[in-house]
């Protein structure tokens, strides 16, 4: 019997992608579909004096033009995570309107939507909308935003802070330890803003069926059920059962397609107004101006060492921009996804991080690729390398001195950090040792000395990281401010013929779920992969889900599916026992059949499935059918770790950096499909 787990099974989704037959949102056409274009502000901060849509209204092919003065002006998109001020004051949550009414707060903020028969006509008419602005001074730097005379993003509050927050040990204790440290290394830098730039621009189609009173939103999202919940309960006030969200193929997300965007709600509202479907697809310029950005932190950090190079304390102050409004998960990023990783892989006994999160006149930020955690790793690894240089120590040696010793989390407890988390297991020195071997560290140092003699600048960068993944236990994130649970749903529907449909709340946008999820279900049931179909991305098919982000699909979504398969096998055993006239405990399940132990009497999975749907000769009191759905809520995060090392040469004249060698040595847990794991790591390293 062929098994699949751990094998480089080729991806099933590739056939359609390679033939150009993927179904991305912009590929979908509905009968009578119109096209939308937006009028967006060229200014970061301005008062809107007037919006004149009269010429656009009567332009060729125009179906409708809306501004905030129409019905949609009442609605705004919400934030899904609350981080209050240290003094107990509630997080400041400004209304994030679907269209700006009185004031512009970032370049690209939409003022009007123009809906027309074709994209070209919508764009033509959008150019006829005349907006008069009174341009105001803007603040784009999170540190400057907190200066007393900084222009205000939201006038209703006395300053630009959305919240402030801290984590770790008492600040005074950390400061005292730094004051008496043998050596203190300081770093002041900007972790700059990034634009995620998934290769597929965001795209939405809203459709309203007046007879069924039902909305359908086709959307390029990582997170269909959460979009439905937010759109219905928190924006438009539509009953949830009256909305279907469809997200078929999505061309990459990297975080930027987790969030509920204003355009999704506005199109949904407008489609009902005009009684026709509306499509809007972002162009690349709009993507830069409106997709949630990442990072934008200004960091001031101090790390203290004793005379042997042991870290004694670490104190950091950060200004972390929120942008103009609070995007869906923005407050979590520089706090619970960032500060909780400040232990890194080191035994630092005293840690304190203080974060001030101001509004700025910029595109809202949110999670991008790891979100908060890579920013923590960047700080720790840079400051340790800088300290090694200052103390004239080898950067690898300094790390070895400070690593948390190996622990397996089974024969000994997990590692309790100073910043709230308990790591599951780890061997940090193991991955660094292996990484150094792979890069040839000792030989490199000789090579480097030789190169320097010849006027070449050859250097090595080392990073040993840990991440909190498999997001996340609902109760934990709830206590940290999340306004949603973070479980996952896995539904396994066995057909009468023994063929299996798996419906998952995890969304696939390049990760290969259709292949990997089928691999482990096939092994668990002992049936061929071809007998299993994986479905995702349609809220009318999949009961519920929390989507894909935070490395959670397999760890959380996969576990939910496993739970449902277990229920299938448990019920199947009852049917098998009845048919085989044996006791359940005398049966064993292997290779797709139940066998009476020690005999050749058996019944196949297919026959049991058929019996479940044709229950003529059937166990008394047992319900027909083989169909189970499960919710899985993890008990902890998962904590993968690893070492990445780069050898680079810098041209002394131009500053051009040439990567000579790069090694990645990662703890990835149990491997379902090594081909896909390698591909994910390649992509992560390069992006």
């Amino acid at each position: 019997m062929e098994t699949y787990i751990g094998k480089p099974v080729k991806r099933r989704e590739d056939n359609r992608f390679l033939k150009g037959a993927g179904k991305y949102t912009d590929d979908i056409k509905l009968m009578g579909m119109t096209q939308a274009a937006f009028v967006r502000s060229p200014y970061a901060h301005a008062k809107i004096i007037s919006v004149d849509t009269s010429a656009a209204q009567v332009a060729e092919g125009v179906v409708a033009v809306y501004t905030a003065n129409d019905g949609c002006g009442a609605f705004g998109v919400p934030c899904g995570w609350q981080v209050d001020f240290k003094n107990g004051e509630t997080m400041r949550e400004p209304m994030h309107p679907l269209l700006a009414k009185d004031k512009i707060n970032h370049v690209g903020e939409a003022v009007a939507i123009v809906i027309a028969e074709t994209l070209e006509l919508a764009r033509d008419a959008a150019e006829l909308v005349h907006v008069k602005y009174d341009v105001l001074p803007a603040v784009t730097c999170p540190k400057k935003a907190m200066e007393p005379d900084a222009p205000k993003v939201h006038d209703q509050w006395e300053d630009n802070a959305a919240f402030d927050w801290c984590i770790g040990n008492d600040r005074a204790d950390v400061e005292a330890a730094l004051a008496s440290a043998h050596h203190v290394t300081e770093m002041i830098y900007k972790n700059h803003r990034v634009a995620p730039n998934a290769i597929e621009p965001r795209s939405y189609i809203a459709d309203y069926d007046v007879n069924a009173d039902k909305h359908t939103l086709y959307t390029s999202t990582q997170n269909p059920h959460l979009i439905r919940l937010l759109l219905c309960a928190f924006v438009l006030g539509i009953p949830e059962h009256k909305v279907r969200i469809v997200s078929y193929d999505v061309g990459g997300g990297f975080g930027s397609k987790i969030y509920h965007y204003t355009e999704e709600a506005l199109l949904t509202w407008a489609a009902k107004e005009i009684g026709r479907p509306i499509k809007w697809t972002s162009d690349r310029t709009e993507a830069f101006l409106t997709d949630a950005h990442g990072r934008d932190h200004i960091v001031n950090s101090k790390m203290g060492f004793d005379k042997d190079g042991k870290i004694v304390a670490h104190l950091t102050d950060e200004f972390c921009a929120m942008g103009a409004y609070l995007s869906t998960f923005a407050p979590a990023v520089p706090t619970y996804l960032h500060g909780t990783l400040f232990q890194g892989v080191y035994t630092t006994p005293l840690i304190h991080l203080n974060v001030i999160a101001p509004f700025t006149h910029t595109v809202p930020v949110d999670a991008y690729r790891g979100a908060g955690r890579p920013e923590a790793t960047y700080l720790l690894e840079r400051i340790i390398s800088k300290a090694a240089k200052e103390m004239d120590m080898d950067p690898a040696e300094l790390r070895f001195k400070n690593f948390i010793p190996p622990f397996d989390g089974v024969s000994e407890p997990g590692y309790q950090t100073q910043v709230a988390l308990q790591y599951d297991s780890g061997n940090y020195e193991g991955v660094l040792k292996r990484g150094l071997e792979m890069i040839g560290y000792e030989d490199f140092r000789k090579e480097q000395a030789e190169a320097r003699k010849n006027g070449k600048l050859l250097g090595v960068g080392i990073s040993t990281y840990i991440e909190g993944c498999g997001i996340a236990p609902s109760a934990v994130v709830g206590s940290l401010g999340a306004r949603a649970g973070l479980f996952e749903v896995g539904h396994v529907r066995v057909q009468p013929t023994g063929k299996v449909q798996v419906l998952t709340g995890s969304h696939s946008h390049g990760q290969g779920h259709e292949t990997v999820f089928a691999q482990f279900v096939a092994d668990q049931l002992g049936i061929p992969m071809d007998d299993i179909q994986i479905e995702h991305g349609d809220t009318d098919q999949v009961a519920f889900g929390m989507g894909t982000y935070g490395s959670r699909s397999l760890a959380v979504g996969g576990s939910a599916i496993v739970k449902s398969v277990e229920k299938i096998l448990e019920k199947g055993a009852k049917i098998a026992a009845h048919k085989l006239e044996a006791a359940e405990e005398d049966l064993e399940y292997a290779e797709g059949k139940w066998t009476v132990k020690g005999t050749d009497k058996s019944i196949s999975f297919g026959d049991v499935s058929l019996t479940a749907y044709v229950p003529h000769d059937y166990p008394e009191g047992l319900e027909p059918g083989l169909d189970f759905s499960s919710f899985y809520d993890p008990t902890n995060f998962t904590y993968p770790f690893g070492t990445h090392i780069a050898v680079v040469e810098v041209c002394p004249e131009t500053g051009k950096v040439d990567i000579k060698r790069f090694v990645a040595c990662d703890d990835v847990g149990n491997v379902m499909n090594p081909m896909i794991v390698d591909g994910q790591i390649h992509g992560g390293v390069v992006q």
């Binding site: 991806r11 390679l18 033939k19 290769i199 193929d249 390049g510 992509g683």
Partner: protein, 154 residues
């Protein structure tokens, strides 16, 4: 304006607005949605097609410019269910993840191999400079093209 083109072996005649891009024409008029639009400015290469045998970016060509041309899009690469060796190689070597850049990658790969049947890794990377992928880090794309070239030459 009236245009007459041959795409994937089929002849089409259309009266088309002069401002419509080739990419829009393929997607909206012919429903050939495998040609993707990622940037609108020739930067990302997701819209790469073959015009008279050479790779071209369909987002910055006007449909009227290809009047009289013969073209191949991603939909014309496979022979029914039988994939082109380049498509096979991308599947075999995991040269794609989300799939959005993939049609453009395959079309550019075909152009690279056509002009240089035995491309080195460096030559492949140089040839891919006009095609962006955000998922794979390019490593497996380069590998796929090398293997495809070997297979086509064999």
């Amino acid at each position: 304006m009236q245009i007459s083109v041959k795409i994937n072996g089929k002849r089409y005649e259309h009266d088309i607005e002069p401002r419509i891009s080739l990419a829009q024409y393929l997607r909206e008029t012919l429903n050939l949605t495998g040609t993707h639009i990622g940037c609108d400015t020739s930067g990302c290469g997701a819209c790469t097609v073959h015009v008279d045998g050479a790779a071209a970016k369909a987002c910055t060509l006007l449909a009227v410019q290809v009047d009289g041309c013969e073209m191949t899009t991603i939909e014309g690469m496979a022979n029914g269910n039988e994939m082109h060796p380049i498509q096979e190689a991308f599947k075999e070597h995991h040269g794609l993840q989300c799939g959005f850049c993939t049609p453009g990658m395959v079309m550019t790969a075909a152009d690279i191999i056509k002009n240089n049947p035995n491309p080195s890794e460096e030559e492949i990377r140089h040839g891919l400079e006009g095609n962006f992928c955000r998922c794979t880090g390019y490593h497996n794309i380069v590998k796929s093209i090398q293997h495809a070239a070997d297979k086509i030459n064999a």
